[in-house]
Symmetry: C2
Subunit: 296 residues, 2 copies
């Protein structure tokens, strides 16, 4: 059975009763599991993580929209995080036995339904994008809600679904499909911040590194060490082990060793299995050789 993850970001992080009502609406949908949800008051934003099959997730996302639109007026929303709508972003992510194609189809179906049912304009993004200019969420959201009406009136910024102007109180949404993100940090056995920054620059896409790596160098002051902090946005095309080995080699250039690495939050099992296959030089390994997969 194809399991998909969906992580809607909603522009409300200060009124627990609104957040709880949305969580309850998700939980009420059969076949959907609400895995996690959390709110950030400074961002005034909440993130819900749920999983299920395509039909169940579509029902849950529509239930979330209904609650969010009834409770949130983005005209009076303030917070540190950029946003353009009451339901700001809805990514679908393939997990077990699910393909990216399925997620793109689901994102498109949900976008059409959201636009039709609630009159909210929707932009499809990342793998679901209908043009290269709309792949990056940052490009779609640039200008935020306050600049949205003017932006949508310019050439090339008609939404993929829905009206040609923002919903009065709910703004617009980006709905899309993407690979799971892996938050991955490598700690270096040195306090030289310049080394962490140089390595981050060497490996991130924006300055010529790996296509699916975002990276920055930080000092971990309490520990007297530095960190290369990364987001890996496609672990199949830019695998963890290649990033690790490249950081290790770059660090050697400065006489620095890797102290340890860490995965923050969740990681798909396949990303770990790929590392084991690589280092053990495993030939012909198939995921149905994993004992636990037989028990499903």
């Amino acid at each position: 059975m194809a399991i998909i993850e969906c992580i809607p970001n909603v522009s409300e992080g200060r009124r627990p009763e609104v957040v709880e009502a949305i969580a309850a609406a998700i939980r009420a949908v059969p076949g959907v599991r609400l895995l996690d949800y959390s709110s950030d008051a400074a961002h005034n934003r909440s993130v819900f993580t749920m999983a299920g099959d395509a039909a169940a997730l579509e029902a849950a996302v529509l239930a979330l929209y209904e609650r969010a639109i009834a409770a949130i007026d983005v005209r009076s929303h303030t917070g540190e995080h950029p946003r353009m709508g009451a339901v700001d972003v809805v990514p679908f992510v393939p997990i077990e036995a699910a393909t990216m194609e399925t997620c793109v189809t689901l994102a498109t179906d949900v976008a059409r339904e959201v636009a039709g049912r609630f009159g909210v304009p929707v932009f499809l993004y990342e793998e679901a994008a209908t043009s290269p200019a709309r792949r990056n969420l940052e490009d779609i959201r640039r200008g935020e809600f306050e600049g949205l009406a003017a932006k949508m009136a310019t050439a090339g910024w008609a939404p993929d679904f829905g009206p040609a102007q923002p919903h009065l109180s709910a703004g617009a949404s980006a709905i899309g499909a993407r690979m799971p993100l892996i938050a991955y940090n490598i700690n270096l056995a040195t306090d030289r911040l310049d080394v962490a920054r140089k390595i981050a620059a060497a490996i991130r896409a924006s300055s010529g590194g790996f296509r699916y790596v975002k990276a920055a160098g930080f000092a971990l002051k309490g520990r007297g060490i530095v960190q290369v902090s990364m987001n890996l946005t496609n672990y199949e095309k830019t695998p963890i082990f290649r990033v690790f080995e490249t950081v290790k080699r770059e660090a050697e250039r400065y006489g620095v060793s890797i102290l340890e690495s860490e995965i923050v939050g969740l990681v798909p099992a396949a990303a770990l299995h790929a590392a084991a296959e690589y280092y053990l030089q495993l030939a012909g390994f198939k995921s149905d050789q994993i004992l636990e997969n037989k028990l499903k």
Copy 2:
């Protein structure tokens, strides 16, 4: 929920109707999944792989005994594989969220029940053994069915449960608890059989190597290369990555590289995750960070 695997070995591999009847008896037990079963005519032996919780597995093993004892007379059994009973060996293996202690308790419960219900003497082995002399299955089974009555009459070979002499037609059984086995081979980029044999000798327990490694060197003639073929009998205490790195280092001594390695059959996910943790120097990683584990 604690999932346990059980892999009974039955002394019948030539009469499909007997094997199918046993498989049907296992399948009829609610809460048990028959993952695999296969027969070897030369060995005249069949291996059933099932999984479930403790209570369901106990019921399935008793159903298997009932069918096997009714159909198999070990006095007329011939085959290449050593055996001492109609149901020869019954190992319980901890899988998801199951502990070895649970498996030892289950093995002991099943042994008591088998002895009481069918009058078959049972020896507890490996982790369930009641003395060091009975840990190794080979020691218990030495002399096979034909030598069993005489062996059981000597000091120290009274069974753990059941009568002091073999069952007339069903012999005796070994029931125990052990870690999952991993069949793991490393192929070397050379045709020098002496190198594979020297490395096998260096890493196996019997000649001074790792405690939980059995190994031999073979030629893969069709490919013009050699193989270090291994069974890893406790991947927690002797992990795959340490075996791989040691073989790699030993091979360097002879100017030989590792071509590839392979896992034959099933491997517990934790064995692969441990390799990823080792090579990526992951600190503080917990298995509940694996996305798929959240979906269970």
